[in-house]
């Protein structure tokens, strides 16, 4: 297939928006593809249409996304929303589907900016209706002004947990408790990274403001909780846990879970580029250079999809990926690239300085990373942690084997939710490092697509054969 664009960007969160704006600004024929109806990704979700009241409630960090989204509009980059990218071939042909119609596009440079997703929090009872990720509640708030009715318990570890708690409080939600799970020992290890983190003082100011806000509101706050269990039979009725030698139960209609975010690596896995296991973030990172170039020529990754560093870092990473792309196709000299890259690199360094501290402070407790035998790990096929361990004892050496024998990871989510945990369970059971155990192989389509859109692709392929001139959509730079 001939090139339809110079640069294709997948994902319209901070990294993708910055990549598209930077690329188009440099004169690259740029196409931005995104699954949502509007720009912003999850962090800036709905930012272009959110009401004043919502902006006020979500804060300046959220509103920043508005100008970023605007920056793409002014460059005149082509943007297709409501578009699901469900396949990318090793020669970078991107297959997407929009409104039930499939299409293919191709560029010599592809930036995957598909962001992060929340780490699974496998606990007894976490499959019950009424249990959501904390980020899910934030999404409902951003996109529909919706908050859970009744009593809400938030539990887990991470800055987002406090942020969501504050935002819900602001929105008038009754917080029945904030139950932190980070082990006390985390503080000691985090302390080592404090000096480096102090280079980003704004984080501490923000953290402090959130803590004060929650304390003032008198939200019952527990730290170092263990033995968590969501209670209820048909739906969540509360959260039980041990703290300070006591067993407590907080009645609640909704329980929100959060144990940090991890890179969404579906597309980079599909393309089998190199990944490495991060022991500090307990997740797979994509191996990429500072311009996002992966082990597959022309394929770049940017933002939280590479490694978790937050929205500002993602924005810088997106810009860097576009600069690298422009240089690769001969549209930017190395000196120009490096000159333009310098300010973004500076932002990136600053944002990354605080990460080791946050990663250590909010490292999830062992019972999340290696759940008890009875706990369900694979929500789709209802496979327990014990069953995975049993598979390892029977000789399974990695997630693809346990998938074959136990169906773990074979359901509709294709292992998105359980993958990270299954890798760690197997590594522990087999006494091997996670990278030796590996991850699920990902195959296209990366999301189920209606049969109709496949048929339409076939028609398109036929018409390309029949009418070669019409298929040459843009300049043939090949």
């Amino acid at each position: 297939m001939t090139f339809t664009h110079d640069l294709i960007v997948i994902g319209a969160g901070p990294a993708g928006l910055a990549a598209a704006a930077t690329g188009a600004d440099l004169g690259l024929r740029t196409l931005l593809l995104d699954e949502q109806p509007r720009a912003g990704g999850q962090i800036y979700r709905n930012v272009t249409v959110a009401t004043r009241r919502l902006h006020g409630l979500l804060g300046a960090d959220y509103s920043r996304g508005g100008s970023l989204a605007e920056s793409v509009v002014v460059t005149g980059a082509e943007v297709r929303h409501d578009t699901l990218v469900w396949d990318v071939s090793p020669d970078l042909v991107v297959t997407g589907s929009r409104g039930g119609q499939s299409f293919q596009v191709r560029a010599p440079q592809l930036v995957v900016a598909t962001g992060a997703m929340e780490r699974a929090s496998p606990l007894p009872g976490w499959t019950l209706p009424g249990v959501l990720n904390a980020g899910a509640a934030q999404i409902a708030l951003k996109s529909g002004g919706l908050v859970p009715e009744g009593r809400v318990v938030v539990t887990g570890a991470g800055p987002l947990l406090l942020l969501v708690a504050c935002q819900l409080l602001e929105a008038g939600v009754e917080l029945a408790g904030l139950v932190e799970t980070a082990p006390a020992a985390n503080r000691r290890t985090a302390l080592r990274h404090l000096p480096a983190a102090l280079h980003a003082p704004s984080y501490f100011a923000k953290g402090l403001r959130m803590i004060v806000r929650l304390r003032r509101a008198g939200v019952p706050w527990y730290t170092g909780a263990t033995e968590l269990e969501v209670t209820g039979t048909d739906r969540a009725t509360g959260l039980a846990f041990d703290v300070g030698g006591r067993r407590l139960h907080l009645a609640a209609n909704t329980v929100l879970l959060h144990h940090g975010v991890i890179p969404n690596t579906q597309l980079s896995r599909l393309l089998r580029v190199d990944h490495r296991w991060s022991n500090s973030q307990l997740a797979w990172h994509v191996v990429a250079d500072e311009f996002g170039q992966t082990s597959l020529s022309g394929l770049r990754v940017a933002g939280d999809g590479v490694a978790i560093a937050g929205a500002r870092a993602a924005e810088a990473g997106g810009a860097l990926a576009a600069l690298g792309a422009a240089h690769s196709i001969g549209r930017l000299s190395p000196t120009e690239r490096d000159r333009l890259a310098a300010p973004h690199q500076k932002v990136l360094r600053g944002e990354c300085a605080v990460r080791p501290f946050l990663d250590a402070l909010y490292r999830p407790p062992p019972y999340i990373l290696a759940p008890a035998d009875e706990t369900i790990v694979c929500r789709c096929e209802e496979v327990s942690a014990g069953r995975i361990r049993e598979m390892a004892r029977l000789g399974c050496q990695g997630p693809n084997q346990t998938k074959f024998f136990s169906r773990c990871g074979m359901g509709p989510c294709q292992g998105r939710v359980c993958g990270n945990i299954v890798t760690q369970l197997l590594a522990a059971e087999l006494a091997k490092p996670p990278h030796a155990v590996g991850a699920y192989r990902i195959r296209a389509p990366i999301k189920p697509i209606p049969v109709g859109s496949l048929a339409n692709l076939q028609e398109m392929a036929d018409s390309v054969v029949a009418k070669p001139h019409e298929s040459t959509m843009a300049k043939s730079s090949e």
Partner: protein, 101 residues
């Protein structure tokens, strides 16, 4: 228990949907999942393995616990689908059906 709208000053137009035969109102810009939570749908589906009840976990297209039938099409991610006037939404019980079955 339903999710509720905060007073967010939105002027989004109302959209009419039918959920399990019940006419309900949503807001333009809602996803099907958000609209369902807002009208008190507590259980979105039952698992094919044990029949356990499920509802959205992630609201961002990751967990697939929000699969519903939209206008006769099964296995649609409710959290990734914008509402549209007159949309018919049905819950899925038990085993996943192949498309068109």
């Amino acid at each position: 228990m339903a999710w509720q709208r905060i007073e967010d000053g939105s002027d989004a137009v109302p959209v009419r949907l039918v959920v399990e035969g019940r006419p309900v109102q949503a807001r333009a810009g809602d996803t099907v999942a958000a609209a369902m939570l807002a009208v008190g749908v507590a259980v979105f589906r039952e698992t094919p393995v044990s029949g356990a009840p499920r509802a959205p976990l992630c609201m961002m297209g990751v967990c697939f616990d929000c699969l519903v039938e939209v206008d006769g099409r099964p296995n649609v991610q409710a959290c990734m689908t914008p509402v549209a006037e007159g949309m018919q939404i049905c819950l899925q019980h038990g085993a996943r059906r192949p498309e068109g079955a």
